[in-house]
């Protein structure tokens, strides 16, 4: 029981940390609320879809920016996608970066775009780590509960 309480506290603290640092916003909580006995892994499922999608998008962006003639519209479309999905799961930092990124796309500033992509890749990897940690905690909680 002690382990359980501790895990739960850890989980709460970590969630609070992620909220506080702006990695996640209330949309993530909304997601958590959608999770119930009918769909116990809803959040994890959505987030894993998000990871897959994100990696694909980040690759696409990188590739698009490597072209000789950069199609900024194409890049922008990817960023828009990324922005939508990150907003959906409440990945606030990523979402905000996407907004910035889109401005650079519009300005067709390759340098800024590349810089933004790097930042985005970094933020994404941090987020991924954080979320994976959170899910690990959840699994442990569930395991402890059983």
């Amino acid at each position: 029981m002690d382990v359980m309480t501790q895990l739960q506290r850890q989980w709460r603290e970590h969630t609070a940390y992620l909220r506080k640092e702006g990695y996640l916003d209330d949309q993530f909580e909304q997601l958590q609320k959608l999770q119930d006995e009918n769909s116990p892994d809803f959040v994890a499922e959505v987030v894993s879809i998000f990871f897959d999608d994100s990696e694909k998008l980040l690759n696409n962006m990188a590739r698009a920016l490597e072209q000789k003639v950069v199609d900024f519209k194409q890049v922008d479309a990817h960023v828009h996608q990324f922005k939508g999905s990150s907003a959906s799961i409440g990945a606030m930092r990523v979402k905000n970066l996407c907004i910035e990124f889109r401005n650079h796309c519009e300005a067709q500033s390759l340098e800024e775009c590349v810089r933004c992509l790097r930042k985005l890749q970094y933020e994404y990897s941090v987020l991924k780590n954080q979320l994976e940690y959170l899910f690990r905690l959840e699994q442990q909680i569930r395991a402890a509960g059983v």
Binding site: D26, Q30, N38, S39, F42, S85
Partner: protein, 1141 residues
């Protein structure tokens, strides 16, 4: 043109003068003496000396003046801002610096104006001719009476034909000259002046009149826009000027003639005066004469409309002064011209005696109005003296130039006729006349008050400023009346000359007041435009701002909701809940404001879709039952069976009105009583009580019909007479053409037992943001916009709304609305009672036990919706006897339920009733079916403990919580009859959204996989069956009819085909199919037995801004939900489409 029109007027006038002259001539043949009298003549009773000639050769010299003078009445009218200057004799006065450069074009304009004015003048002249005739009639009539009074009255006036002709000629001449004048106004100044001058020089006869309307020079600032307006104005002013001049002239002449007649009347008495000293009692005879004459002048005052009074003065030589004074008992007084105290203060006794002169003219009698001049020597006043001398020398009526009348401070003129003692020949020498003079009759014309009087008659005082000038001295006109007009706008001058012996006058009417009014009007128009623009701006502002507020507010609410889900201590929770509730109120207000703004800007259009009205009402009840139950108010709905099952209209707006009314009722009803919604056909109101619907019919008498201590209302608490609430409906009773068409008019009433509306507030409750009083919002909250919106919605539905309310009793609101009858099959699937349970209870029989007849009817109504026939008993006792009597029939055998209201419920009787049922059933049927009727208890509130007690003790099989509605009833019945059929009804009470979305097939279209999954997760949480596609094209394929989707959630921004385009194409597809179905090109079976395809499409958007919203609606979307989904928001969007019981 102007002059020709003016000449028309003139002709009329001349006709009048001819009439007058004719009369005068007749008089002339009868009498002989013309005497000049001055209006302020002092009296003299020294009759002996009356004949004495006038000593004063210098005075004779003074009278070598022109015989004829004019009274020129120049009526000019000024209109600000429009520069018309109407020219006249004395241009210097009005400063005419109009350039002729644009003459031609202006002449055109003027031409138009004067074509108009010409017509008007024609109309005017005909009007005047009527009044002329009246005047002449009056003359003739009075003539008769005068003849009786005195024989031998002399009149010495003459008019020659040639003069008349001359006059006419002149007029024609002037008229001719007006043509060129129209084209070049400046030139005409000189031309037009001539005739008037020649008139002055050549016309030697009194009573020559001339009416002249001069035209016009236009200045350069004519605003073309104002042309029409100014044209009308010119006409109007002209009309007034003309009529003003004419009336003054007429009345002047009438007055003059009458004064003349008076002078003649007086002469025989004065002649007699010579003998008077021989008569012993001089004074008594004199006073008799005086009295008579005074009375006569008094009584004929109306004949002299322009005069303020007449007086008679005797000619008294100095030698006879002593005797005269002795006879009269007073001394001849000196006129105090400096003393301008008021008439009342003037006491002749206090005046100084007249200084010694050769002769005197003391007033011996006068009309009451000028009685203050009796005993004053008229010869001591400069103007009067001159006038007297002139009058007796000429034998004609003479006028003074304007001077300040005695004691009145007004400018005026005095008309004087001399009274002679012998019949003088027309060509008598001045010396002879002076010799024959015995006295003078004078009449004073108080110009300002007369003009005032006239203006009053003309009823144009407000519009026209009239100035009257004496223009005898052309270079220095004397202002007789009115303030100097300084504005040099439109100036209309009418020039009307009187012929007389003395001076001329001019009258100007300036209409700077019109200018003021016009200016005011212009300002008002401007303000109106600005106000309207402001109103539009306000509406737009409201719409925009409301949206802008709504978006962040939703965020605030979401956050608060989350906050409430966290670990909060009771205080914190309370704070959060309060904040959340306030936020929700704010959102509700904003939505209402948006509605109002939409309605005001005319953007709100009603839908026309088939819907189940009863289901809508049930839905309203569901939403509001929480509130009403909390307050302990009974809520009930009743729909007449005349109302079709499906009607076509706007269910959302219908619901909004009812929700608003019921919401208000709940708000204003405290802890007792009921709120009762009933729906009937408007036509039912006209039915006879016998065939009338029970609920409606009971409304007729229930207000005062009290039996067994309670009122026959739903809850037994008195209500207002609902029939009064639609009394003022205009269209309620009229059949219109509805009978043959498929249109129906519904009458909805919402009755409550609330606090009522204060009488003084009842007339403003439909005004937006107006509540009964300012304390209402403090006590009950709310904004007061709801009723205003409801009213507008009702009007949009072609109906009326009204209410009756009594403070302390309650209110009843009624409204009507026109709907089309719908076919049950036309109902979209979303409206259908998807539950098979509807047929499950078909044919069952129920007994409703309730002491309230109306409430029992409500229960029966709901049962009938399930196909259950219900009988009603008003008490358990009656129910028992009903059952006993029915036991022989088959009725009792299939009695499957008894519904007992809690009002008639108590444990003992109920228990015995239950037992009775058991016994009864066992007795009646030998087959042991033992299908005892189920017993339901109807109540508004019950504690869980009570419920448990009742159920466990077997008093009742189930408890039905009011308000009754189909969903609740079905659930309850299913629960009770659950034996096998519906064994496993989900015990888990789903949330409202769950009910709405449960089993609904929903298509989610989003290109973003994460979004798709989130949307799917959210929707399926509420029981929806979600299908996801990732592009607009895919959505198109999915939504091609026939399909089984109940709704579609569509992302807006998608590559290839965005949400807007996809929706547009889907709608296009649907309408094609609908057309085919309607035209019969395709059978309904081909499209899933659905007659009308319209899949609700809701946009999913992150930015809920006005523009997006509008674009959504434009491309055929039904609503939008904001991403991420928020339960309340999702609910309100979805409820619109999935409403059901």
């Amino acid at each position: 043109m102007t002059c020709s029109a003016g000449a028309g007027v003139f002709l009329k006038l001349s006709r009048l003068f001819v009439k007058i002259r004719r009369w005068v001539l007749v008089r002339m043949s009868l009498n002989c003496k013309l005497s000049g009298l001055n209006g302020r003549l002092p009296n003299c009773s020294k009759l002996k000396k009356a004949k004495e000639p006038l000593h004063g050769p210098n005075s004779v010299r003074k009278w070598r003046r022109e015989l004829l003078f004019f009274f020129c009445l120049l009526v000019s009218v000024v209109l600000g801002s429009i520069g018309f200057l109407l020219s006249f004799n004395h241009g210097t006065l009005w400063g005419k610096e109009k350039a002729p450069n644009s003459c031609e074009e202006k002449a055109q304009i003027l031409l138009q104006h004067f074509n108009l004015s010409k017509n008007q003048l024609h109309a005017l002249t005909s009007l005047l001719s009527e009044s002329d005739q009246m005047t002449s009639l009056q003359c003739t009539k009075e003539l008769g009476s005068k003849v009786q009074l005195s024989d031998g009255i002399t009149c010495a006036l003459s008019v020659t034909c040639s003069e008349m002709q001359q006059l006419h000629k002149q007029h024609r001449w002037v008229a001719d000259n007006d043509e060129p004048r129209d084209q070049c106004p400046v030139q005409d100044e000189t031309i037009s002046r001539k005739p008037s001058l020649s008139m002055l020089d050549d016309s030697p006869v009194p009573f020559i009149s001339q009416s002249r309307v001069y035209s016009i020079s236009a200045n350069n600032q004519i605003c073309e826009k104002n042309i029409l307006q100014s044209g009308a104005l010119v006409d109007c002013v002209k009309e007034h000027c003309e009529s003003f001049c004419t009336i003054i002239k007429d009345q002047f002449n009438v007055s003059m003639n009458h004064v003349h007649a008076l002078a003649i009347l007086v002469s025989p008495f004065t002649m007699g005066n010579i003998l008077l000293p021989l008569i012993s009692d001089v004074n008594s005879v004199f006073s008799m004469i005086t009295e008579n004459i005074c009375a006569y002048t008094e009584r004929t005052a109306f004949e002299r409309p322009l005069t303020s009074g007449v007086a008679y003065a005797l000619k008294v030589p100095h030698s006879e002064r002593e005797l005269f004074e002795k006879q009269h008992g007073w001394t001849i007084k000196k006129m105090e011209t400096e003393d301008q105290t008021l008439v009342q203060d003037c006491i002749p006794e206090k005046l100084d005696p007249a200084p010694i002169h050769d002769e005197y003219a003391p007033v011996i009698f006068s009309q009451e109005t000028v009685s203050h001049i009796v005993s004053i020597d008229m010869m001591s006043g400069k103007e009067d003296r001159e006038n007297i001398l002139r009058a007796r020398a000429t034998g004609k009526g003479v006028l003074t130039s304007p001077f300040k009348l005695l004691k009145s401070n007004h400018l005026g003129v005095v008309l004087t006729f001399a009274v002679y003692n012998t019949d003088l020949p027309l060509d008598a020498m001045p010396e002879q006349r002076i010799e024959a003079t015995v006295g003078y009759l004078g009449a004073s014309y108080d110009v300002p008050s007369l003009v005032e009087k006239l203006l009053h008659q003309l009823a144009c005082k407000q519009m026209i400023v009239v100035n009257v000038y004496d223009t005898t001295n052309a270079s220095a006109p004397i202002n007789m009346y009115g303030d100097e007009v300084t504005d040099t706008g439109l100036l209309q001058t009418s020039n009307l000359d009187f012929g007389d012996h003395n001076g001329s006058m001019r009258c100007i009417a300036a209409i700077n007041r019109i200018a003021k009014v016009e200016e005011a009007c212009r300002i008002m128009t401007k303000l109106k435009v600005r106000a309207e623009a402001a109103d539009v701006a306000k509406t737009q502002f409201l719409a925009t701002v409301s949206h802008e507020i709504r978006t962040p507010m939703n965020g605030v609410l979401g956050m608060l909701q989350m906050l409430m889900d966290t670990d909060l201590d009771p205080n914190q929770l309370d704070y959060a809940q309060t904040a959340h509730a306030s936020g929700k109120d704010l959102i509700a207000l904003i939505n209402e404001v948006l509605d109002q703004a939409k309605i005001e800007s005319g953007r709100l259009e009603l839908e026309a879709v088939p819907f189940d009205l009863r289901a809508v009402l049930d839905n309203v009840l569901s939403l509001l039952s929480g509130k009403s139950n909390k307050k302990g108010i009974e809520l009930a709905v009743y729909v007449s069976n005349q109302v079709p099952e499906v009607v076509i209209g706007d269910p959302g707006r219908f619901r909004q009105i009812i929700t608003n009314l019921v919401g208000n009722s709940i708000k204003f009803t405290n802890d007792k009583g009921h709120i009762f919604i009933s729906v009937h056909l408007a036509d039912e109101v006209r039915g006879t009580p016998v065939i009338m619907d029970q609920v409606l019919g009971q409304g007729l008498s229930l207000a005062h019909d009290m039996s067994d201590g309670t009122y026959k209302t739903l809850s037994g608490i008195p209500v207002v007479d609902r029939w009064k609430s639609w009394k003022s409906f205009k269209k309620l009773g009229s059949t219109i053409s509805m009978e043959e068409s498929d249109m129906i008019k519904l009458l909805v009433t919402v009755e409550d037992t609330g606090v009522g509306i204060p009488l003084e507030a009842q007339n403003r409750i439909f005004t937006p943001f107006m509540q009964a009083d300012s304390s209402t919002s403090r006590t009950y909250g709310g904004t007061g916009i709801g009723l205003s919106i409801s009213e507008r919605l009702v009007h949009l539905m072609g109906g009326e709304i009204g209410f009756v309310s009594e403070p302390g009793t309650g209110s009843t609101f009624s409204f009507t609305g026109v709907f089309r009858k719908g076919e049950t099959s036309s109902l979209d699937s979303k409206w259908q009672q998807c539950d098979p349970s509807v047929s499950e209870f078909q044919g069952l029989r129920a007994l409703v036990i309730d002491k309230s007849n109306i409430r029992a009817e409500v229960t029966r109504y709901h049962l009938q919706r399930l196909g259950i026939t219900a009988d009603i008993a008003f008490s358990l006792k009656l129910a028992r006897s009903y059952l006993s009597s029915a036991c022989k029939t088959s009725l009792s055998t299939n009695l499957s339920m008894v519904l007992i209201d809690k009002d008639v419920w108590d444990k003992e009787t109920c228990l015995s009733f239950h037992q009775f049922l058991k016994d009864h059933r066992q007795n009646s049927s030998t087959e042991i079916s033992i299908n005892l009727p189920k017993i339901f208890l109807l109540t508004t509130s019950i504690s869980p403990r009570e419920r448990f007690e009742i159920k466990s003790a077997g008093f009742a099989d189930n408890v039905l919580i009011k308000p009754l509605r189909l969903g609740v009833l079905i659930a309850c019945l299913q629960d009770a009859f659950a034996s096998g059929k519906k064994g496993q009804v989900s015990r888990k009470k789903p949330s409202t959204l769950g009910i709405l979305l449960r089993q609904k097939r929903i298509l989610v279209v989003d290109d973003n996989v994460v979004n798709r999954r989130v949307a799917e997760g959210a929707l399926s949480k509420y029981g929806a069956i979600v299908t996801c596609v990732e592009s607009g094209k895919a959505a198109l394929a999915m939504l091609k009819p026939p399909h089984s989707f109940d709704a579609c959630f569509m992302d807006l921004q998608m590559p290839e085909m965005d949400g807007f385009e996809a929706t547009r194409q889907i709608r296009c597809m649907e309408s094609k199919v609908n057309k085919e179905i309607v035209s019969g090109d395709a059978s309904i079976e081909m499209f899933g037995n659905k007659a009308h395809w319209h899949t609700p499409i809701l946009a999913m958007t992150a930015d809920v801004i006005q523009a997006t919203n509008e674009e959504c609606m434009k491309c055929g979307m039904d609503d939008y939900v904001s991403k991420p989904f928020e339960e309340e928001q999702l609910y309100s969007a979805v409820a619109h489409f999935f409403e059901s019981g």
